[in-house]
Symmetry: D3
Subunit: 315 residues, 6 copies
């Protein structure tokens, strides 16, 4: 058995058979909430926090999955146990939960198909793609503020992790006009810095970590982990509205996201931030984080990438 | 041959086998543009207008489907020819085109699957569900302005027909708190009336038809057809920002949408509009429209619904 | 002596004779500031805080009543002393101060009347209507966010207690479409939660009380009392912009207002908050408050309502 | 019989006895809609237009007065017939309708009074105060844009004529800091020119009359009359968003309001507009208007003021 | 006589001696209004329109230059007559007027200098730099929408031609990150397209020319000339709010500015507009324009550039 | 040696010869960043803080002056040493740094001049004009909120000290309509209080100092000094959005600016603040500040003004 499993609407199915009907509400409306969890040494990290955020997203969208968080946790563990066996020793898994609003009866009707009107629930895994981050984790990422703005909470709230992400898609396209390797750092309608399409964004300023508020950003689980570490290390953490001026003049900047934990950001709109390389606050945080999880996070990424590259070049 | 066909990524497949990978960008990001066309007497109505709008949506999102509009038209006709045979004599088809940004390599990776990074292109049909509209086309619909606001064009532009529709989903949930049969009429961030999740909205005021501008609404193909009819009938048509006050004090209101053409709106936020029943402007328009397409549109809906209801009760 | 007194422009008059000219600026423009104070065991509670807020409202509107706060206090006490004698033993009084900008000379002219151009000053009382709150104080209130938005401070500032309340009136009408018992929870122009037409709104979240800021809400006297109690009880209190997402996911919610002190809110837009019943933070606060004022506040409301109901059914 | 009559809640009462309870919703919440009509040669001018706008305001606020417009018209005529007899030959009447949301039961309760929960309906008159306008109609008015902004339609719509006018009150106070004779010209939240507290505002620019849109202003009955006159005179009329720059550089400016019809505005924020005196467009309009109503409008104002001044100085 | 003259504060001075004190208000606050006029065959084109716009800018800023427009015109002609003699036969002049608010006494004080508190008035010329436009006029320009937004009219109005242009400066810097040859097309705070730092922007759409409104753009003199030409050619011209979606899907786009009249825009944010080359509407306009001024405008630019390039390479 | 020196683009020149070309970018676009430092007893106060803020402004505008902060410091000291000798004993210097984006080649071209495309760097001094502040420092200043709004950070960020100040210029003109001695206190687009054209603004409220946030104001060096002093004195300091209501009801208000340190504000929009005279918080701060710098700041201003007045009246 060499294929990973996927949980889909009550069943464990082989990954190659996991798909959605073209009339699923996730496809038709992007009416989907989601989570991404990762493993460290093949154990899920802060799964409870992710499931608890999922339940908040579900409550906001009024979707009733008729399962408890404990059920979801059990399925998650089962999937990881099974699928992790397909990884090499140094590999790690990303685990995705997503829930859509079900299927659209109208569209299903013709084929004599029975549409499911209860939510679609899916849990699946993927190997963490260390090769995507290796260079950036060492040299720092480049972010660009596009003209596209973040969707404001009175349309739909960024505190929910959702998949109606057209603005992220368009924003990243704009950012890549400046640098194909850049990602978008979206501004809100008032011009405040919010987040990237996949991560929370933070700056270090005179010894403190400064974050946008939760009015226009996701309350990231990794962001929360990072705040805990900062507290332990005695690094002050504050939330306030941040403008591009402050990013350009920050001592350091970084993004925070489940799959890679912490990524230095060394360029904003083509300009260097601070000294243009990963700084001391980043370093203290990533070291403390590595200690917490028992894995040298940067090294894992860099070596994982190297292994993957060697594998693909046939060495 | 008892199953409709679906066009999916270059192939015609039976509807029961038409599905998307769980890692399709349409599922993961709602990064999808779409169109809906309908038939009259089993012939597609204004297909060129729909395909031309699709090409504008594709240009805005920078998706390159490597097919011409002529190719899409050919596939569309082929599908309709095939699938219409499965309808009863009086049935009509809805035809859907949708294009997503392709598949996410990262998520596909583990299963050894080959992700497709070019756009996903799908065309499929469904029988028009007349039973959903029969009552409303006679008595008028009820619209409710929810607290959720429409996404502004600087986030993503409503002139594109897209599927990142979380705000529509949430707005309709709010509207249904007032009346389970009501739909949401979304306001923009300045409080102007925009559109519903499925239709353009218009009012009749002192003999004129008044429409929101295209700054915050879809340039509907049916709306354009309606404007042509109004011109022929000598009914003035104007675009301007409309507020709820003007809807509450309109002589008539209606929505305009491909599957049913024109629907009277007789209630807004629980209050009757005009005399609380379909009015003369609505009637003149629907009659002219019926004449244009050679189908009594209202009658088709009402009788289609009756037929369906009889079928389902076994008579 | 069977009729309560009212203070009106320098005189004590029987309630049945207390009225405003139809050309009073309060009638013509809603150019009125106001306060409501209540008694506990027939003694005015935090009268000084109310009068001090009244003086801030007067300063903002540049109305000069030519009376000191001490004068107003004296009149207030006199009224309460007199009018409380008309209550039954368990009754309590609400005391209202309001000041309008005077009378409109133009409108007064014809009748040969002498309009007063100095502010109209009125103080009057009413028995607290416990019967309105008894059910909600036990089961919790239902709030609905309407499409109508709160007036922003650059039009007129909500830190003044004023009577140009058309938006409240319209918002409550909208909320009642969802539930005749519901009240509106107005959002500001950015979609942040503000207040109801009669109360401050707060949520409890992970052990803390969270309040909207004073940029878009009244600095309630009861809210201030509640903050004092929270401090004594060691419950953290924070101000920040709150969105509907956070209300739907709060552990508890409540409103704070002079006549009833604290009211649990258990539903928002039809959805249950927390466990759907008054929670532990509410309970700790209301108990501490009862202790402070020497009255079991909930019990007083419930029994007051019962007594009133018995009276009206003639038992 | 020397006293004018007032219609109040079904009865004709002498003006000196026309008053509202202090717990009327008009007093407590400013929840009031209103109209002002005037006479020319003692006959009501465009009464139907005013009543029809009143009915739109009532519909928006969902107040049901249980009277037809014909009933209101009849009462209005009766009042004018009666009260006009108290005027001198050259005098004219202003006629006011206002409707409040009724009385607040809670506040009424104590005195054993029976509150009326149906709307309060009042119609009353006043002699037009020509003396207030005589100087300005000749030399032009001075308008000042204050920092206070107009209430936007998503709070409550300016197309309704209402009495929650705190922003007007505050704005005029600010304007009078610049010039005690100045009135406020409110800007909307985007900085566009709207209206004054009592009139529509317009500019003349290269031979056309330009007006703010109805998104942020009252659809004035006099404004509509003026548009009719402009059409007859061949003066183009356009609606668009106007900024202060365009007022400062207009050829002429004027306000439009029921009691005085048309008033030249010759100063904005202390700067002269055009040549600093009433211009040719103003003159053509006021002459056409005078012809329409059979009264030299300016002369009536100027002589009416003189007469009043002589009367008051005892000549 | 080898040096051009400059008019500065009442005197004609050689260009090399024309400078401002470091404490001029133009330097200290950017409190400057300006105009740019050009010659065709060494005669000033539409000078009156430019001076008339200058007078509107002066009125808005309340600067009193104590000179009539006729005085300015006379000086302008004198300068052009003199300075044009320094050009080669095919050269043309740009003529600049600018007025600052005078000098800052405080800063001047120490040196014992006498600061001038009346406005600084300067008129100067420069040879039109055809070499900057030659390539773009043939291949089309590239515009980029930056994250920086245009200053809204409630801060200072774009209908004035001013020199507080920090936003233009920053916006162009951002645009050049995408393409060093690109210029910024600024969006307003609502995401509508406005103008570039040096030109009006327009699109052609289904046979019409569409322009942003004058709420957020300069009423360009060349834009007005272009509208006249369009009228003569029977090309409809409309003003409305334009979003990026419509630019990406326009048939053509161009900018309009005094020094080069009309420039095709063939790329927006890296994407081709229409067929990616100057289109028929552009061609008809530029030909009509050339005819009006008796100069082949494109040819003049292309050959002027060639001549300059030959000169600089010493041929 | 009777003339002060000015540093300009690498050279020390006599003040009377320090000027900018009329085609300097500072003149043409207001593309200028700046700083102002002052002396106490002829020694520069917090020069490092000013230069460090200058470097942040330069980074934001991407201007590269090719000089280190140490170079700038050295030049600054040299200038002060030289120029201070021209002062009388009690005089103090203001020191200005400004950097523009260079010169515009196009405009320079004709005269055969060689434009400098690298930034223009200028440092100059002026004697502090105590006479401007003497009366206000004793009686308090009057601030007025104009209808003109502050430029928002998404246009250009107020955290940079810049010279594109047209909005300040217009705002002060409006404020002076109310009182020729008043200065403008600009509101941001949401109606929050920001700053004056030359100073930070703060209020004292119940024993605390409250400041607008840095989202819409300059992070003043004097403001920072004041915060340090407040901390030493145990006066709480908080940042939050402030509305006009809170200024009208503040206990005290003051502005903070380099040349005079701290100025009491006793009137806002014509209304007295607190007791209408400099209050105890102001007094404690100015005394602590005087102690820190070894100069009685108020006395220096008052006596400096008197000396100047005597000098100018020839005594």
């Amino acid at each position: 058995m060499t294929e990973p499993l996927v949980y889909l609407n009550g069943k464990m199915v082989p990954a190659s058979q996991a798909h959605l009907a073209i009339y699923d509400m996730g496809v038709v409306m992007g009416a989907t909430v989601t989570e991404m969890t990762r493993t460290f040494r093949k154990h899920l990290y802060r799964l409870d926090d992710h499931l608890s955020r999922l339940s908040r997203s579900l409550r906001y969208t009024r979707m009733d999955i008729r399962m408890s968080l404990a059920d979801l946790a059990k399925i998650s563990l089962e999937l990881v146990t099974h699928n992790a066996r397909l990884l090499d020793d140094a590999g790690e898994l990303g685990l995705i939960h997503f829930v859509t609003a079900g299927e659209v009866p109208t569209y299903a009707g013709m084929a004599g198909l029975q549409p499911r009107t209860t939510p679609t629930v899916c849990v699946h895994t993927f190997p963490l793609p260390f090769e995507l981050w290796a260079r950036k984790v060492q040299a720092g990422a480049h972010l660009v503020t596009p003209s596209i703005r973040h969707v404001p909470p009175q349309c739909y709230d960024p505190k929910m992790k959702y998949r109606s992400r057209m603005h992220y898609y368009l924003a990243d396209k704009e950012a890549q006009l400046v640098d194909p390797d850049a990602a978008a750092l979206l501004l809100d309608l008032d011009g405040n810095v919010t987040e990237t399409s996949g991560a929370n964004f933070l700056i270090a300023e005179r010894g403190s970590i400064v974050s946008p508020t939760l009015a226009n950003t996701l309350p990231g689980v990794s962001r929360a982990a990072m705040i805990e570490l900062a507290t332990q290390l005695g690094i002050p953490f504050v939330e306030r509205d941040i403008q591009v001026f402050s990013v350009m003049n920050a001592d350091e900047a970084f993004t925070c996201s489940t799959p890679y934990c912490l990524m230095p950001v060394t360029r904003i709109n083509g300009a260097w931030i601070g000294e243009g390389k990963p700084g001391p606050v980043f370093r203290r945080l990533i070291e403390a984080w590595s200690q917490e999880v028992g894995v040298d996070i940067e090294k894992q990424i860099i070596e994982g990438a190297k292994r993957r590259s060697e594998a693909s070049t046939g060495r």
